[in-house]
Amino acid sequence: MRLRLSYDDRSAAILVLPVLAVLLVVAAYPILYSFWVSLHDIVLTRPLRRPFVWFENYERMLGDARFHTAVLRTTLYTVVTVTVTTVLAVGVALFLNESFRGNRLLNTLLLLPWATPSIVNGLMWKWIYDPTYGLMNALLVKLGLIDSYRAWLGDPDLTLLLISNAAIWKQMPLAALLLLVTMKAIPDDLYRAAKVDGATVFQRFVHVTLPALRPGLMLVLVYETMISIRHFDLFLIMTQGGPGDASYTLSWLIYVETFRSLRFGTGAALSYLLAMLTFLLSWLFIRFLGERNS
């Protein structure tokens, strides 16, 4: 049997070929290769012996105390970052959805954090948190909220939250923009009808705005979770996992395992565990938020 391709099929093949070639070499192949690596005991300081060990790397990591710490830190960081980003974004979207003078200017300003490179975001907040010369100490002392200067990032109870704060600052704009677009699509009739029924502002928000926002909210939650859970740049710049293990997240553990201990096998296994965690969380969001919708 001869395979006959139509004009459409042939054209499409030529048109998608360049993209598929690039993705095959720099994405698909590395992804599969990484899985293969995760099944081997590869340590770069011992280059000649790299035995195939099945899922031993995964087992070892799942039983490793550092892994447990990292999962705990990553979860806390992600939950805080995603929750605050979303709540803040809903507020900002509601605010920008009002019509007032200067609205357009504020919309433009909203792109400032979004466009800021994450490395600059990290150095900027590190500088704000600086124990001696930072803005935060000066501001809080001036307002009378603290008596003396503190080493903010050196406080294990606060580190994760302060890094999270930097992440929220950068991520909130995109979330707000997505929600704003969804909000603008809500027909005015719904609000008018609710007004006629005597609903208060709060009731209108709960019964009209929130249900209509659900698709936008879900998009924001899934997207923000997927990127927060893998944050790395801020941790490298601001704390390098410290103080102690206060900001020792999964991404940081992968980095240390791979590039400092040069254990590529366990590093790759950890990466796959992180990918699975990401999938699981997105699935949970879609499942629970999606179901209440219907």
């Binding site: 993209v19 690039v22 992804i31 009002e98 919309n107 490179p117 600059v120 590190k126 001696t132 980095y255």
Partner: protein
């Protein structure tokens, strides 16, 4: 009246939150080292000046560095800043151009042509973005090394191409699907093949989406850190974020210098975002309403 007061209050809070941190960075970058290390800090530069920027653009000349008011010491990476700025620009422009070229044809095929394996192609493209970057770093390093591209601009261009292409295709597809199908049919009746339809119908009609795609590709390349950290090793290919991160983690670097470097890194993306705001917002939110 109460409403106007509330809006004014919220506007003030909004500006303070969104712009405050960047303004503080800007203010710090215009101060001398002795002014920046005052306690309590100077909110505004007492004697605003461009010393730090001059030091950066004199590419590691220790005289310019000393002129800023501290003893003659030059951070080891200072000479690399200017080359890295050039590298970042080069990578960004290459990625933006190539990204558009390959995404355009692929998005056209997926959005317009009903071919065998259309869905599979789309899902393959999108699925490559689901794996965290950090999981890709090691195997990618090995692939790039085998290609002989380690520590080259080319390595970064190819990598960022793979990173940006899925999103560009996503934007372009949702834009193409909004273009009336009748225009496509008419062009086919007039004797256009797929190439002709792409050139004469889809390309001219999707300018906003194309601008958005260019912007994203450039901004992503400009801001990317992790891959650049692993794939480049010297000033020949290192990009701006790598050099800046080096400054931040080097205790001997002065704060004012770091802050000025930060301002330089922030400037191009912010300017682009402001100039192309309309396209960026419509590109970012493409598909958000459809849910």
């Amino acid at each position: 009246m109460a409403r106007r007061l509330m809006l004014a209050l919220f506007s003030a809070l909004f500006v303070l939150y969104v712009a405050g941190p960047v303004l503080w960075l800007l203010s710090s970058s215009l101060q001398m080292e002795s002014e920046i290390t005052a306690v309590p800090p100077n909110w505004l530069p007492p004697h605003p000046g461009m010393h730090n920027f001059v030091a950066i653009f004199s590419a590691g000349d220790s005289a310019a560095y000393t002129n800023r008011g501290i003893a003659g010491f030059l951070p080891s990476g200072a000479a690399n800043l200017l080359p890295s700025l050039y590298n970042s620009l080069q990578v960004g422009l290459w990625v933006a151009a190539l990204n558009l070229l390959v995404s355009l044809t692929a998005a056209y095929a997926i959005a317009v042509i009903d071919f065998k394996g259309r869905r599979a192609t789309l899902y393959t493209v999108l699925a490559t973005r689901v794996i965290p970057d950090i999981a890709l770093v090691v195997p990618l390093f090995l692939v790039i090394r085998n290609l002989g591209l380690i520590n080259s601009i080319g390595a970064l261009v190819v990598t960022y191409l793979a990173v940006t292409v899925p999103f560009t295709i996503f934007i372009l597809i949702s834009y193409f699907e909004g273009i009336p199908r009748d225009l496509y049919r008419a062009s086919r009746i007039d004797g256009c093949g797929h190439w002709g339809a792409l050139r004469h119908v889809y390309l001219p009609l999707s300018l906003p989406a194309l601008v958005a795609a260019l912007m994203f590709a450039f901004l992503t390349s400009w801001n990317e850190f992790l891959f650049a950290l692993v794939l480049t090793q010297s000033a020949a290919a290192q990009t701006l974020p790598i050099i800046i991160a080096g400054f931040v983690m080097d205790f001997t670097t002065s704060f004012s210098f770091v802050n000025a470097a930060g301002v330089i890194a922030i400037l191009p993306p912010v300017l682009l975002a402001v100039i192309f705001q309309r396209y960026i917002v419509s590109g970012l939110t493409a598909g958000a309403v459809k849910g």
